[in-house]
Every structure is written in structure tokens, then in C-alpha cells.
């Protein structure tokens, strides 16, 4: 049976708990390369950590988790996203995806894109963005670690070669 035609607006892009979105619900030593989940989440705080640099706390963030494949088209200012759907994978350019989805997502104090950027693309600021947009350079991985101090919650960390702000 041929798969049904699909538009960007019809993609199953849903809100998820932040730990689920970032694949942090199961205990593991290292980030998994088998993870293909995607969606968006509200986070009270996430830490963006560049290689060799100090992590920067981003409060009240809208975190958008998506994937690029290692054979994705290399683009200077865009990313070819790949979404694993139940019946097949599809790709879509990040610019088109964000133009379609960002206006309908809740407003937060910052937007964090958790998307691997293997070709170091310098993204354009999405037209619908009204707050700082943080996007990675290089591969992105998610982590959690016990928070210092009295907080009972783990810190959620996103690592990359670098983080750029639009």
C-alpha cells in the first residue's frame, strides 16, 4: 500500500515532556545513537554546553528536538531534517519546518534547537521568532546530571561543538 501524501503541517510534531523529548527517561552511560524521537517541550531551564567551554543556562525555553541524517544535504544556511514516521522517513528543510510550526508553538523566553548540525550551517532567524534562538554547531547530545545545591531536579544539558544565538 503506497504511503499517504503528507504535508509539513500534517507531521506528528507534538509536545512531549522534556525528559522524554531528550531521551533522558532511561538510565544510560552515554547518549544513544539509536534515538529518533522528535517533538517540542517546555523547559524551565536547560544548559547549553560548547566543547571546552562553560555551560550557559537558558531559562524558560521552548526546546525543539529534531534530527538530521549523516547523509543529509550539506547546506550553508539550512538543515535537511529527517523525521522517522511509522510508515516511512521523510525529510524537510528546517527553515520550512520552523516557518510552518513556530507560529503555533507557545511563547517562551528562548528557543533552543536540539538538532545536529554536522555541516556547521548558519541558520537564518525564523520569521516567527520573537525571542533569542539558540542553535548548535556540530552534533548535539542530551545529558542529565544531579543539580548542585538543594534542587531535587537534574540539570538538563545539551552539548555541541558550539552554540550560536540568532
Amino acid at each position: 500500500m503506497a504511503p499517504l501524501p503528507l504535508t509539513i503541517a500534517e507531521l506528528p510534531f507534538f509536545e512531549r515532556p522534556i525528559r522524554e523529548l531528550l531521551h533522558l527517561e532511561v538510565d544510560r552511560d552515554r547518549p544513544s545513537h539509536d534515538f529518533a524521537g522528535f517533538g517540542w517541550a517546555r523547559a524551565d531551564a536547560v544548559w547549553l554546553e560548547p566543547a571546552g567551554g562553560a555551560a550557559r543556562r537558558i531559562d524558560d525555553a521552548l526546546v525543539i528536538g529534531l534530527h538530521t541524517a549523516d547523509d543529509a544535504e550539506a547546506l550553508a544556511d539550512d538543515l535537511e531534517l529527517e523525521l522517522e514516521l511509522p510508515d516511512r522517513p521523510v525529510t524537510v528543510l528546517a527553515s520550512a519546518f520552523l516557518d510552518r510550526w513556530l507560529p503555533g508553538l507557545p511563547q517562551r523566553s528562548a528557543i533552543v534547537l536540539a538538532i545536529c548540525n554536522p555541516h556547521r550551517a548558519r541558520l537564518h532567524r525564523p520569521a516567527a521568532a520573537t525571542v533569542p534562538v539558540h542553535h548548535p554547531v556540530g552534533d548535539v547530545a542530551s545529558w542529565r546530571e544531579p543539580a548542585p545545591g538543594a534542587s531535587p531536579h537534574d540539570r538538563i544539558i545539551l552539548t555541541a561543538e558550539d552554540w550560536w544565538t540568532l
Binding site: L6, T7, I8, L11, E20, L22, H23, L24, E25, V26, D27, R28, D29, R30, P31, S32, H33, D34, F35, A36, G37, E49, P50, A51, G65, L66, H67, T68, A69, D70, D71, E80, E82, E84, P86, R88, P89, V90, T91, V92, L93, A96, A114, I115, C116, P118, G138, D139, V140, A141, S142, W143, R144, E145, P146, D154, I157, T159, A160, E161
Partner: protein, 241 residues
């Protein structure tokens, strides 16, 4: 769609046999209570291999429950669809309904023919294992396979589970006791420190060197936001609108 078909088929089984449907509700919930533990690793390499080697659904559910290190018993549903496609669904039958209900599914394995004497299968995680997505595993006639998989290459293959096999609720206690015996026989892996909700080790899923992994022992890993797809022949469709 699959779920609806599965449910309909399962209901048909219940109506036709009557045996499960006649059990009292209280009997069923006493058999095996799930703890809804969602923090237990599932070794996907072993799950994928179990499907490849299983002789049939009962053997597969036994193997999978030996792999799973939590307290719950994993039920399976095996559904043969047209053209030798088979879908195996793993689920926690929390309500002992004998069907795959909302929120119970934890994985699916889909096997599809790709040509004469060849096929592929792929595993996807759901619920607490949402996000796991195996590579496409190629199989072919002549490979060392269990009969559950190799039968599709038989000259006169007839799908057996067009009406799905679903782990009978009466088998849950058997699976549990078999698994207890298995764990007792493997103390190195299932020592007294093992309790539901903890990690039991297992191989980290690393298939390529990450760009930036910080040192430090207290951090726990999540996932990478990249997919390993290099070498594939067919690129996915790109959506433009």
C-alpha cells in the same frame, strides 16, 4: 490502522473461543500485577536477535522476557499481514485485557519481504522506549534463522497469524516463573542488588564517536539528534509544503 485491525481480530478470537472472555476480572488481575516500571533498559540488540532466532511466538515471548530486566511480563502480539509481512508488538498488558490497549505498547518489529528470498525487519520503541529505532536488518533464505522467520522463505508459505497470536493471559504466570528460574540460574546478571527501576548495565549504544562527550562520572546520557543513514540507496521523500 494496525491497532484497530489487531483489536478487531483479537476481539474475534475472544468471541470465537470464549475461553479467555469467560474468566473473571478478579482472577485475571491477581495473576500478575505490573509495576509500570519505565526505567529499565531493554537490550535492543538482544531483542532483534531474539526475533531472528525464535522458533515461534511462544519462544519469542520467552526470549524477550529473559532479556527484559524489569518486573513486568512483556506480552507479544504477532500479526501476519499480506505478502509475508509480519508485525510483532510487545506490550505491557497492564489491564490484562489480552489486547494492545492505549499506552501499553513498548515496541514493534516489522518484517517485510524485499524480493525473492530476501526480507528486512526493523524495530521501533514506544512509550518508555519511545525514540528507539533499529537499523533495517536484511535477511535472506539460507541464513541461520529461527523457523518463525525462515518459514516465510518456504516454497508453500502460508501465513499462520492472520488472526493475531496474542500472549494468553493464562500464560503470564508461566512466563514469570520461567523467567524467575532463568534469573536464578544467572546470578551474575541478576544479582541481589537488582531491583525494579534501576539500571542493570548493558552495552551503551554507541556506533560512532561523538563530537563532544564531556568527562565526569555523574552524567547520564540521553540521545543524539542525528541519524546514521549513510550508505542507503534510496533517499526519503522531501516535504516542501
Amino acid at each position: 490502522m494496525f491497532k484497530i485491525k489487531l483489536l478487531a481480530a483479537a476481539l474475534a478470537v475472544l468471541v470465537m473461543s470464549g475461553s479467555v472472555g469467560c474468566e473473571s476480572r478478579s482472577d485475571r488481575v491477581e495473576r500478575w500485577a505490573t509495576t509500570e516500571n519505565t526505567n529499565v533498559k531493554l537490550d535492543w540488540d538482544k531483542v532483534n536477535e531474539a526475533y531472528k532466532q525464535a522458533s515461534g511466538p511462544e519462544d519469542l515471548e520467552k526470549r524477550i522476557n529473559e532479556i527484559y530486566e524489569g518486573d513486568e511480563v512483556i506480552s507479544i502480539a504477532v500479526h501476519d499481514q499480506g505478502d509475508k509481512t509480519q508485525v510483532v508488538t510487545g506490550f505491557f498488558d497492564k489491564n490484562s485485557s489480552g489486547t494492545v490497549d492505549e499506552g501499553e505498547q513498548i515496541f514493534t518489529i516489522k518484517r517485510e519481504p524485499t524480493g525473492e528470498g530476501t526480507a528486512q525487519y526493523q524495530t521501533m520503541g514506544y512509550g518508555p522506549y519511545y525514540g528507539y529505532h533499529s537499523p533495517l536488518f536484511s535477511i535472506a533464505s539460507g541464513m541461520l534463522l529461527g523457523s518463525m522467520m525462515s518459514s516465510m522463505f518456504a516454497p508453500h508459505y502460508v501465513p499462520v497469524y492472520t488472526r493475531p497470536y496474542i500472549t494468553p493471559s493464562m500464560r503470564m504466570s508461566t512466563l514469570h516463573s520461567e523467567r524467575s528460574s532463568y534469573r536464578a540460574a544467572n546470578p551474575a546478571r541478576f544479582g541481589p542488588q537488582s531491583q525494579s527501576g534501576r539500571s542493570y548495565g548493558g552495552r551503551p549504544s554507541i556506533s560512532r564517536p561523538p563530537a563532544h562527550i564531556p568527562s565526569g562520572g555523574v552524567r547520564r546520557g540521553g540521545g543524539f539528534f542525528g541519524l546514521s543513514r549513510a550508505g542507503r540507496v534510496v533517499r526519503p521523500e522531501r516535504l516542501s509544503a
